[in-house]
């Protein structure tokens, strides 16, 4: 048995990637669960509109954080702000009372807002203060159903899984089997090989996406209120990033084991820090920046926005543009590296 133990340690010492993962992964999980895994919401962006906007805004306390006061605005203004993601709560003031609209797609913020409003109401009544009637309406996800929030994000997760993990395995398999050399000698252009390799995974990922959405809509009654073309554009750009990441991982991996390790290390931060589970706004600033470099963050914003809020494309240019940039960068780098694999080499053959 000791001979086996000694052998395993020797092999592990030479397997730098596994060692790195064994050290980096616990640190990542510690940082995430220490700073990012936070369901407590302390900052709810709030927009206040209507004739009494200024007075009402001055009365608002934490967790409500007033980002805009618009005396000329009305209910449509408030709803548009929520739909476009500018605010989570919209206060519409009027002569006959206040209507509070809450964005139901921001689950934890919405729950916190409802709780804070209820506490405020109780305090007023206990103090014997007369107050205008306040109506609370949760938009987009009136019952704050968790599955309505999870399914759009899950669609992205599936695309990451197929696009990154499975694609990287498919490509590295050629390298491991030694058939990549033969492809390099055949009359293929580099683009033929790359496109030919990823096309099946692209098709499977799209089928997966459609299945997930149909199941979400059929079984969990998740609505699809927005423009399907906008959703498709977001999904296509997101796939560009994930497939590019898969090809990139394959160019730096010598075998499928290494590819899986790298893919998991790229997948885990996306699951934990993209807003899929824990709200980005609740994360400590020190880790929140990581969310902004993760492609899933932007796809979750697009998919939840289109499916639940019918967010128009004009309000989604930001995440769409960033996905396009990320896609161009990652895919461009992946192709450059893959072409190098197919081109004459000056490296010792593996």
């Amino acid at each position: 048995m000791w001979a086996m133990v000694a052998k395993e340690f020797r092999q592990l010492r030479r397997d730098h990637r596994t060692l790195a993962m064994m050290i980096a992964l616990p640190i990542l999980l510690l940082v995430v669960f220490g700073y990012a895994a936070n369901f407590d919401v302390h900052n709810i962006p709030t927009v206040v509109v209507g004739p009494g906007a200024r007075a009402s805004a001055s009365l608002l306390r934490a967790p409500f954080h007033v980002v805009e006061v618009d005396r000329a605005g009305n209910q449509s203004t408030a709803e548009a702000c929520l739909r476009d993601g500018k605010a989570v709560v919209g206060l519409v003031t009027g002569d006959h009372g206040i209507t509070v609209f809450i964005d139901g797609t921001q689950l934890f913020s919405a729950q916190t807002a409802e709780s804070a409003l209820a506490k405020a109401r109780v305090s007023e009544e206990a103090a014997g203060l007369a107050s205008l009637p306040v109506r609370v309406r949760v938009l987009f996800n009136p019952r704050l159903t968790t599955s309505w929030i999870m399914v759009p994000g899950l669609a992205g997760l599936i695309l990451v899984f197929v696009g990154t993990l499975i694609t990287s395995l498919g490509v590295v398999r050629e390298r491991q089997a030694g058939t990549l050399e033969q492809l390099a000698v055949m009359p293929f252009r580099a683009w033929d090989v790359i496109a030919g390799k990823i096309a099946p995974y692209l098709i499977v990922a799209l089928i997966d996406l459609i299945v997930i959405l149909l199941i979400g809509m059929g079984i969990f009654h998740v609505p699809f209120r927005g423009n399907i073309a906008v959703f498709a554009l977001g999904a296509a750009l997101f796939l560009l990033v994930t497939l590019g990441l898969g090809v990139l991982i394959s160019t730096v991996s010598q075998n499928q084991g290494q590819a899986i390790q790298l893919a998991i290390m790229s997948l885990l931060p996306q699951v934990l820090l993209s807003g899929f589970i824990f709200p980005v706004s609740s994360m400590a600033a020190g880790v929140r920046w990581i969310s902004y470099v993760l492609p899933l963050t932007y796809f979750v914003e697009i998919s939840r926005g289109v499916m639940l809020k019918a967010t128009p494309i004009s309000s989604l240019w930001g995440p769409i543009g960033l996905l396009a940039l990320l896609g161009a960068a990652v895919f461009g780098l992946a192709i450059a590296r893959f072409r190098r694999d197919l081109a004459p080499s000056t490296r010792v053959p593996q």
Partner: protein, 271 residues
């Protein structure tokens, strides 16, 4: 020289893989690159087909469409059948139709694989995999066929079948370059290049290489090594006397190509 390497040097980092190597490849015929492990045989072939960029020298080769290549490992997809492997290669080279099907069947029959065409590549024995891989490399009737140790791991009968196939395509006008560690295969070639540590020790037809060897040759039996310039051959020893004078008790004999190869390596080591 129609194709080949001329004065090619290749470095992998600080390691000299090839040192001003010239491997002429004539139109039709078989050129063998022979050498031990690490001699640079695979690097010669990989440079010839364009997988390795030389640091100096000239490499001449036909376009990719006219080149067939069998690497030292693999050669076919383990999760595709022999037939599917052939179809993939055929379509990569733009081959279609009944002619392609006929050629595939002929080649598979020549190497005795027609009954195994529905088997997955990974389910074939090592020898059958090499034979299938040679067929795939030949499917598009290349002008230059480059084979890296095509008969390694192949049983003697299959090796003979493969050589019949290779000789046949060479006779039909294909230039064949193959790497091997088997000296007796090199003796069947039109020309040979003997490599050792990235350098050319000898080059030319097997007969010319044999004629270039000087000194006397003999054989002896016994347990211990008779002289420093002797090597095992079967149960006995082969002895080379550069001076032309054999030691006592050694039976003189005419050298063959294998003797010439060993002598070239001994001379190379001595330099």
């Amino acid at each position: 020289m129609r194709w080949g390497l001329e004065g090619v040097s290749v470095h992998f980092g600080r390691k000299v893989a090839l040192d001003e190597v010239t491997v002429p490849v004539d139109a039709s015929g078989i050129t063998v690159v022979i050498g031990g492990d690490g001699a640079g045989k695979s690097t010669v072939l990989r440079t010839l087909v364009g997988l390795v960029r030389p640091d100096s020298g000239v490499v001449s080769r036909p376009p990719k469409r006219a080149t067939g290549y069998l690497p030292a490992t693999a050669g076919l997809y383990a999760d595709l059948t022999v037939d599917e492997n052939c179809k993939f290669s055929a379509s990569a080279y733009g081959l279609r139709g009944a002619d392609c099907e006929r050629r595939k069947n002929e080649l598979l029959e020549q190497v005795g694989l027609n009954a195994a065409s529905d088997r997955l590549g990974g389910q074939l024995s090592g020898g059958m995999q090499r034979k299938a891989a040679v067929v795939i490399a030949l499917l598009h009737s290349p002008e230059l066929l480059v084979l890296d140790e095509p008969t390694t791991g192949v049983d003697p009968v299959s090796r003979s079948e493969l050589w019949r196939l290779i000789s046949g395509v060479a006779a039909q006008g294909t230039s064949v370059v193959l790497a091997t560690t088997y000296v007796n295969e090199a003796a069947r070639a039109n020309s040979a290049v003997l490599l050792e540590a990235g350098k050319v020790l000898a080059a030319g037809s097997p007969e010319a290489i044999l004629r270039s060897v000087t000194g006397a040759f003999g054989s002896a039996v016994g347990g211990s090594r008779p002289t420093p310039q002797s090597w095992r051959r079967g149960a006995g020893w082969r002895i080379w006397a550069p001076s032309g004078v054999l030691p006592e008790g050694v039976t003189p004999l005419q050298p063959d190509f294998e003797d010439a190869v060993v002598v070239a390596e001994l001379v190379g080591e001595a330099r």
